[in-house]
């Protein structure tokens, strides 16, 4: 009986090293006595011997060929998707640039009139200077400033004299 290996670990479901398991199952296939021992626990365990069934060589070849071909097709599709993605991005940038340039130029044509530049402060007239004709002096002067309003012809002129500010 020493030629008959122990079936304990197989029955208990211990994961055996591949080679050891293959030897055990090969023995089971050949030894009716050991099969009977195994079946005593559970006849369905006999199906473990199916692990010895070889995979036909042509099946293995077909798996390799079909898998590699399918992966190569996926690699091609991935490359095409990447090219498409970069192309779309580049096109979007160009379109955005063109639109931006268009609206920028349009903005230039409709630009509001230039803002008036700051007019140099008018120096205060000398204290003894005569008031020009048509001048109307405003009595309400803000702070230290003197505000003078006058009409010359059709033009209204307002002058502000502020010694503190030098105007």
């Amino acid at each position: 009986m020493s030629d008959h290996p122990s079936l304990r670990r197989l029955i208990e479901g211990v994961e055996l090293p591949a080679e050891e398991r293959r030897e055990l199952l090969s023995h089971l296939q050949a030894c009716p006595g050991c099969r009977a021992e195994l079946a005593e626990r559970d006849p369905s365990l006999l199906f473990a011997i199916l692990a010895l069934e070889p995979v036909p060589a042509d099946v293995l070849d077909r798996v390799s060929r079909s898998a590699e071909a399918a992966i190569a097709r996926e690699q091609g599709r991935s490359a095409l998707r990447r090219t498409y993605a970069w192309g779309s991005l580049a096109a979007s940038i160009v379109v955005a640039g063109l639109l931006g340039a268009y609206f920028w130029t349009q903005r230039g044509l409709d630009a509001p009139p230039d803002r008036p530049t700051v007019v140099d402060a008018i120096p205060a007239p000398a204290a003894d200077a005569a008031m020009p004709a048509g001048m109307i002096e405003l009595l309400d002067s803000p702070g230290s400033a003197d505000v003078v309003e006058m009409t010359v012809g059709d033009v209204e002129v307002v002058m502000i004299f502020d010694e503190a500010m030098g105007i």
Binding site: E15, S44, L50, A51, P56, I71
Partner: protein, 196 residues
């Protein structure tokens, strides 16, 4: 020869030789499990092709701290179960099994080597009565020889669920063997229905 980790890294980096080598190393395991679950070599080849494409697409997300084979088996079992289920929905009919029982060799089988082809026919017929997940659990545990914990990880279920699948599967297969393939069951052994 590159180790598996190196091979996977190279495959992730787009090394087509590494991809081919990975397919060559794993194809037997994949097609065998696919065959055990679907019961048909053609289906097994189709399943295997899909498995390797999914594997390649998912390599970038593979976590090297986890066992590679667990992930591979999971993809394989799920793909095989999906195929079996699609057949059961009537999209692809199961191949017709001959109704006559094999000639019972009686005591002869108790004294001779077991015919693998006969065993295969018995399994194909009887396991077709199992739910796909029961069949998958039985294949992984009893035919592929994986531990219950590993089967649970592959099938992404609790160990108790695996044990339940196995209990159901063994009961159906045992009863079927006794009734329809008595020649395969060694002489002198017969368990009555209802015993565990």
């Amino acid at each position: 020869m590159r180790d598996e980790g190196e091979l996977i890294r190279a495959a992730v980096d787009g090394d087509t030789e590494a991809v081919s080598e990975l397919v060559r190393r794993k194809r037997e395991q994949v097609v065998r499990i696919a065959y055990q679950v679907t019961g048909d070599w053609e289906d097994a080849v189709d399943v295997s092709q899909g498995v390797f494409v999914r594997l390649w697409k998912g390599l970038g997300r593979y976590d090297p701290s986890r066992r590679f084979d667990t992930w591979l088996y999971r993809i394989t079992v799920n793909a095989a179960i999906d195929l079996v289920r699609s057949r059961e929905r009537g999209l692809q009919p199961l191949p017709d099994e001959p109704q006559e029982l094999p000639a019972s060799p009686g005591r002869a089988s108790a004294e001779s080597a077991l015919d693998l082809a006969e065993l295969r026919r018995a399994f194909a017929r009887l396991s077709a009565r199992l739910a796909p997940k029961q069949r998958a659990a039985f294949v992984l545990r009893e035919i592929e020889g994986l531990e219950t914990a590993e089967v649970a990880r592959i099938m992404n279920v609790a160990e108790s669920t695996v044990r339940n699948h196995l209990l159901q599967a063994r009961r159906v297969l045992r009863l079927g063997l006794e009734r329809e393939y008595p020649g395969l069951v060694p002489e002198g052994f017969r368990k009555s229905e209802g015993e565990s």
